[in-house]
């Protein structure tokens, strides 16, 4: 299909316009570094795009292009180390916590001011700039507004509105789009060796989220969980059944999240113990207990977020189902997200009106908002199924 940009840009699926901008900027930066005239480079960027569109992939590719003598060839040591996350002059803030606090921000500011070891750029990537607290954002302001000549800030967030106004007004904004289904399917086939039919299904089902598409294509459990979620619209006859379905959805998401969190948590605790020199049965060095306690706290917060994310994903799948219902009701000539459930979609479409489908989609969106606002997830999903049942 599309002729993909080579080198470090190869994994940016369906983002040709954004890639063109970043490549031009990298070339201008290189020209400027050599004292030649060039336009298009800025020292602070805000990359936005829907979840799974590849914000952090874009930021890393751009960082590699800045560090690579050939503008992101994808083959030299600079490109390799940036993409692997080990380049000395690229700092990636990849928080799994719910927020980035002021202490972290201050540490970043002093890191950004260092002269790059490789003599090119000091690149600061903040993957979740939407999680900067107000205080942390204020601590970053000066550094972003008046960076040293060799510092580049790359901030990523889902949408412009998610970032503090004072920060976003100091950045050049570049938005990524939801990648087209065919582009996602193509990359699954090319890079992950997925069978084309499975790739087409996964790309459709993931609605443009690349990571999710890869998961669906390669993990049968993920497919089964998704399938169970999409049976919810068919269990709404009785109130008790609807609430049961709500409970099942939350339970499944919790189980998935716990599994992920536990695996990660054990590995991290091991690593930290080794790092602190805590041997089996040995004495703990001073501060070790406190550090481990902090880690545990952080892991707890992350587990909460993983659970919310898993529920949110299920709700996105569910909204996709009702969008299909709406498409059938409107007789729109579009490809269904859930083509494999065409019969169920048509059944619901015939039994309801477009107005009721819109109300149902609203109920799902309201539940996502409520969970985002800290409402007990089970209660929010229960209220949603009540809304879906009412239609």
């Amino acid at each position: 299909m599309s002729d993909l940009a080579p080198g470090v840009w190869a994994d940016l699926v369906g983002q040709e316009p954004a890639v063109a901008v970043l490549r031009r900027a990298a070339a201008a930066a290189e020209a400027g570094r050599r004292g030649e005239p060039g336009t298009g480079m800025t020292h602070a960027w805000l990359l936005t795009g829907p979840p799974g569109s590849g914000r952090s992939t874009a930021a890393r590719a751009f960082a590699a292009a800045l560090q690579c003598p050939r503008g992101g060839c994808g083959e030299c040591p600079a490109c390799h180390t940036v993409l692997a996350g080990t380049h000395a002059d690229v700092e990636v803030v990849n928080t799994r916590r719910l927020s980035i606090g002021v202490d972290d921000a201050r540490a970043l500011v002093s890191r950004a001011a260092r002269y790059p070891a490789g003599g090119r750029w000091q690149v600061m990537v903040v993957e979740d700039a939407d999680r900067l607290t107000d205080q942390a954002g204020n601590a970053l302001l000066r550094a972003i507004e008046e960076p040293t000549p060799h510092t580049v800030w790359l901030l990523c967030a889902p949408a412009v509105e998610d970032v503090l106004p004072t920060i976003r007004s100091r950045c050049r904004h570049l938005s990524l789009r939801t990648p087209p289904t065919e582009a996602v399917a193509e990359v699954l086939v090319r890079r992950d060796g997925v069978d084309p039919a499975m790739a087409a299904f996964a790309a459709r089902a993931a609605q443009g989220h690349i990571g999710r598409a890869r998961r669906l294509a390669t993990d049968e459990d993920a497919r089964l969980r998704r399938h169970a979620v999409l049976r919810l619209p068919l269990s709404l006859g009785e109130l008790s059944g609807a609430l049961q379905a709500a409970g099942d959805l939350v339970d499944a998401a919790t189980a998935e999240a716990n599994e992920q969190a536990a695996t990660l948590a054990t590995a991290e605790a091991e690593e930290m113990r080794r790092g602190l020199g805590v041997g089996p049965g040995g004495r703990q060095p001073a501060g070790a207990a406190a550090a481990l306690k902090d880690l545990e706290k952080e892991q707890k917060a992350r587990a909460t977020r993983t659970k919310r994310d898993a529920i949110d994903r299920a709700l996105v799948d569910l909204a996709g189902f009702y969008r299909d219902v709406l498409a059938v009701q409107a007789e729109a000539a579009v490809e269904l997200v859930n083509d494999e459930m065409r019969d169920a979609v048509i059944g619901v479409a015939r039994a309801s009106t477009p107005e009721s489908t819109l109300r149902r989609i609203d109920a799902i969106l309201a539940a996502r908002t409520a969970i985002g606002a800290n409402v007990a997830p089970l209660l929010a999903v229960e209220a949603m199924t009540v809304g879906l049942r009412r239609g």
Partner: protein, 323 residues
């Protein structure tokens, strides 16, 4: 308290702690169902039991399969029933599992002796009296749920709710459901400051039963004595959830069966059945939506949490009036 790994033909559950007795019976039934999911369970009270009923149930069935016969209140059995039970337990037959439930004490002692002589597995449900035993009970509850509770948190929970084991078990179940990770003292204090959990459920019961003024009064009292609005609202949600689930189950099924299917305690089923009169499914649905809205208001901080809860109580009572 733990059940034998496989079904045993004769079990004697005895002792004054009702919660432990209920659990021992449930464990004995569950042990049978592991090997025979189709087993027929007959849950009887010795009081008013028809003579010959147990003998009939214990005689070999044409269709095979295990028959579980639970006889409760055997201390109050009439003499002929007691004699009948002694005969059956002496030779119960191959596919019969007999569970006798006795509240302890000397009444009906000859039947207990006969059961012991016949080799009954005895489950002793002693009163959990000392604080250290209650703390151990709380720790066991969390362990059984695959969770951990800090020792200080277990002590705090017993301090707040120690009088009744059922209340304690219920509070543990709620903490398991509502929190993640190790339960520490801060969590317990947040949930149970001033016996909040009981109060929260009391407010919820009053609202669900349509006692509007009492619900408002209890609510104000709870909040005035330092209750956190979050668990109060969680109690509303739990009450309505239970109501909806029990409302969807068969009205004629035995509470224990319904409780097992829905993951509730039998007493919750009995209570919900009593509360269901006056409610329609649409009413319960509307009340759940109102409570979800209150949760958002309480946590969003935009609305006064006290007002949000009063509004929730009002909405619950109004939803009940929908019929």
């Amino acid at each position: 308290m733990t059940a034998a790994p496989g079904p045993v033909p004769l079990t004697l559950v005895t002792g004054p702690e009702a919660l432990l007795r209920d659990r021992a019976v449930a464990a004995a039934v569950a042990a049978v169902r592991v090997t025979d999911p189709e087993a027929e369970v007959h849950d009887l009270s010795a009081v008013g039991l028809e003579p010959g009923r147990v003998t009939g149930l214990a005689s070999p069935s044409l269709f095979g399969g295990t028959s579980v016969i639970v006889v409760r209140d055997v201390a109050d059995a009439a003499e002929e029933i007691s004699d009948e039970l002694k005969t059956v337990l002496a030779d119960p037959g191959d596919d019969v599992v007999l569970v006798l439930v006795h509240p302890g004490g000397v009444k009906g002692k000859s039947l207990l002796d006969a059961a012991r002589a016949a080799g009954a597995v005895v489950v002793d449900c002693k009163v959990v009296k000392w604080e250290s035993d209650k703390v151990a009970f709380v720790q066991g509850e969390f362990k059984a749920a695959g969770r951990r509770v800090a020792p200080a948190a277990a002590v705090a929970l017993v301090d707040a709710l120690g009088s009744d084991l059922r209340e304690l078990a219920n509070a543990c179940a709620q903490l398991v459901a509502d929190t993640d990770g190790t339960v520490d003292r801060a969590v317990v204090e947040r949930y149970h400051a001033g016996r909040i959990e009981v109060t929260g459920f009391k407010v919820a019961d009053a609202a669900v039963e349509g006692r509007y003024e009492e619900a408002l009064r209890l609510l104000r009292h709870a909040l005035a004595t330092g209750s956190d609005p979050v668990p109060v609202n969680a109690a509303f949600a739990m009450g309505l959830r239970t109501l909806a689930k029990v409302g969807g189950a068969s009205r004629t099924a035995r509470p224990d069966d319904v409780a097992r299917d829905l993951g509730l305690a039998p007493f919750q089923v009995k209570k919900a059945r009593g509360q269901l009169a006056g409610w329609s499914p649409d009413g319960v649905a509307a009340a759940i939506v109102a409570v979800a809205r209150a949760d958002e208001q309480i946590k969003g901080g935009g609305t006064d949490p006290v007002y949000a809860l009063e509004r929730a109580v009002t909405d619950i009572v109004a939803a009940r009036a929908l019929g």
